[in-house]
Subunit: 379 residues, 2 copies
């Protein structure tokens, strides 16, 4: 890690920005200027005044995505301020461009107030074809996303929720092929009830998981548990039907799948050994997973995924969002529906022809992968 | 005009956006990804958390400018909506990149409410090194700019005001050299009390003009005239010392300089003929000036400037803002002061070594011009 840290700092110091603006038009003569700017551009403005939909043919808007963060949940580092989110957002913008040609703009917000964030995003939204939210703390992220989806006629997606959920589902689909279990028959435990855990729980149930219990720091989330926030209460309504209470260690006994979006070391060998045959474990805490690969293997894990690029089976949002947004922009989708998320997950899963314990998730560099995800949107 | 309009529409249809985002970093291997994004970028976020000023070395922020418009005063077309401003803002972004390498982002606002505009811009401002305002109607533009300057520690400039004012002053300095008059001894009439007229009046007085009368549609603006808005009342306080009332035709009699930021045809040959010897006329209405060049010449105008690229002496904001913002970003200036505006105007004027009636304003393509303006900021 230390050398990656220093190398990354050095690279950022050298680059002074991982993205830049380029002009697509020539400006070499006075004539060029009159076409690109006043008076020629007046004709373009008038055309858009007559027919507002034409803005998508005549400007960059249909290919432009804004990524917003208030810096309250930056990577695994917590609420360290909006400025610290800027290099993260720039990284996403560079990834957007590299994998699907989208023009993404990083926008950090100097307020943590939910109302102010919603109003600000609504007011600049017409500049873009879609909105991505990033590194906004739970449970505020749920309300912000919900209100934006109500107000805006364009795709709005909090990537820490749905990007993660989609890649988790993709990985799970292939893990189940490896261990030969059916999605409708497994017991899943989700450890972590933040943005990613809640969204993944929702998507897994939509995908057909019948038995699922979400755990937070206080153990199993169940209907009627005291002090649940709005989002956890909602999740309690469609998970943990038996209203089981108990610690993670108690709940995990006999589970087929254990998914951690929690903290380093949360999964002990004892917990893993108490699971059903051929345990599937996703230990997604970053940079240090809930259980390390060698420990997991010794405890009998059949398929392990982590959030790390230096271990097999990396659950990485970047597998999903470039293609997903490409597909939504191209097909004019206005809402990120459950159906779209399911299709994206299935497209990602199908990109691995023959899943094995060592490869349930495709490589981000796989030729055609992002086009496949993009096409899934309009299937 | 018709062929320029059609050609511009065709060009915009072909380009589908005059700007695009490019990644400055390679993403070809898993290692690249870990440096550009998580986990490597975490070190960059932590560094910025420790030392917030480092954001300017480690991201694109110090080279990034946002251009905001609410679409209430789009070119000469009026309040035709934010979407119609997007191609105009993109044009400015392309010009920024072409002439001074700045990464400018077009942001249109779906609200006309002054409070909402100010709050929105304040909330996204930390994403950028400077803010430019564009095509916002008067007198709202004055309040919006003033409040943003109070709230933000970065350059904020409404280009329709100050960009225009700076280029007008530059042109005036050279026009006076041609007609051999001193700035402290001339009488100036400014026709138009919108964004550009008000700002130009302020800057000319700061530059040493002692006798100046601003006219609006009701004639001369003077202290105590009924129904003046806040900004015109302010201007009345330091112009028109004799509190003259009267129509433009009455006020222009004996004037040395007549500047129009008003409407086509506002300057008749009679008005021009009533001026002092060697009249200087800036007829800046677009696309049709207050008086056409051949009419002006026949009426005895000594030096004429317009806003048009197909006539000599084009007063064009694009002469100023690329270099001015380059200089402000590079030197870490936090305020666009009168002194900075004066220096920029003088730098532009000095770029024409020997002014003549046919050339008081440099060409935007003049080698070194924008660097000269940039350097003037920190002189």
């Amino acid at each position: 890690m230390t050398d990656i840290k220093q190398e990354s700092l050095d690279l950022h110091t050298k680059l002074r920005g991982k993205i830049r603006i380029e002009a697509t038009c020539e400006i070499e003569t006075v004539r060029d200027l009159t076409l690109v700017y006043s008076p020629g551009v007046g004709a373009v403005s008038e055309e858009i005044a007559r027919n507002p939909a034409r803005v998508d043919d005549l400007t960059w808007r249909k290919n432009a995505v804004a990524i917003f963060s208030d810096g309250t949940a930056v990577l695994g580092l917590g609420d360290i301020g909006p400025l610290t989110a800027l290099p993260v957002l720039e990284g996403k913008c560079a990834i957007f461009k590299r994998f699907s040609g989208i023009d993404a703009v990083p926008l950090i917000l100097d307020t943590k107030d939910v109302d102010a964030i919603v109003e600000t995003i609504v007011h600049v939204a017409p500049s873009f074809g879609a909105i991505q939210l990033e590194d906004i703390s739970a449970p505020r992220c749920f309300e912000i996303e919900r209100r934006l989806m109500e107000r805006l006629e364009m795709p709005v997606m909090h990537d820490d929720q749905h990007g993660t959920a989609i890649v988790i589902l993709a990985g799970l689909i292939n893990a189940l092929r490896v261990v030969r279990k059916e999605i409708g028959e497994i017991r899943v435990v989700m450890n972590g009830a933040g943005a990613a855990g809640i969204a993944a729980a929702k998507l897994l149930v939509t995908a057909g998981v019948r038995e699922l219990v979400v755990c937070d720091r206080r153990g199993a989330v169940y209907e009627g548990r005291e002090g649940l926030n709005e989002e956890k209460a909602l999740v309690a309504g469609f998970t943990n039907r038996e209203k089981r209470a108990g610690s993670l260690a108690e709940i995990a006994i006999g589970a087929d799948v254990l998914i951690g979006v929690s903290a380093a070391g949360a999964f002990t060998p004892e917990i893993v050994r108490s699971m059903a045959r051929d345990p599937v474990v996703f230990a997604l805490a970053n940079p240090v997973p809930e259980i390390l690969p060698d420990v997991a293997k010794a405890a009998g894990v059949a398929v392990l995924a982590t959030g790390r690029s230096d271990f097999p089976n990396q659950v990485n949002n970047a597998l999903c969002y470039p293609g997903l947004f490409r597909g939504m922009l191209d097909s004019g989708v206005k809402r990120v529906t459950d159906e779209i998320k399911l299709r994206a997950a299935r497209a990602l899963a199908a990109a691995v022809a023959t899943p094995t314990a060592g490869k349930i998730i495709p490589s981000i560099f796989e030729p055609g992968l992002h086009e496949l995800v993009a096409k899934s949107v309009s299937l």
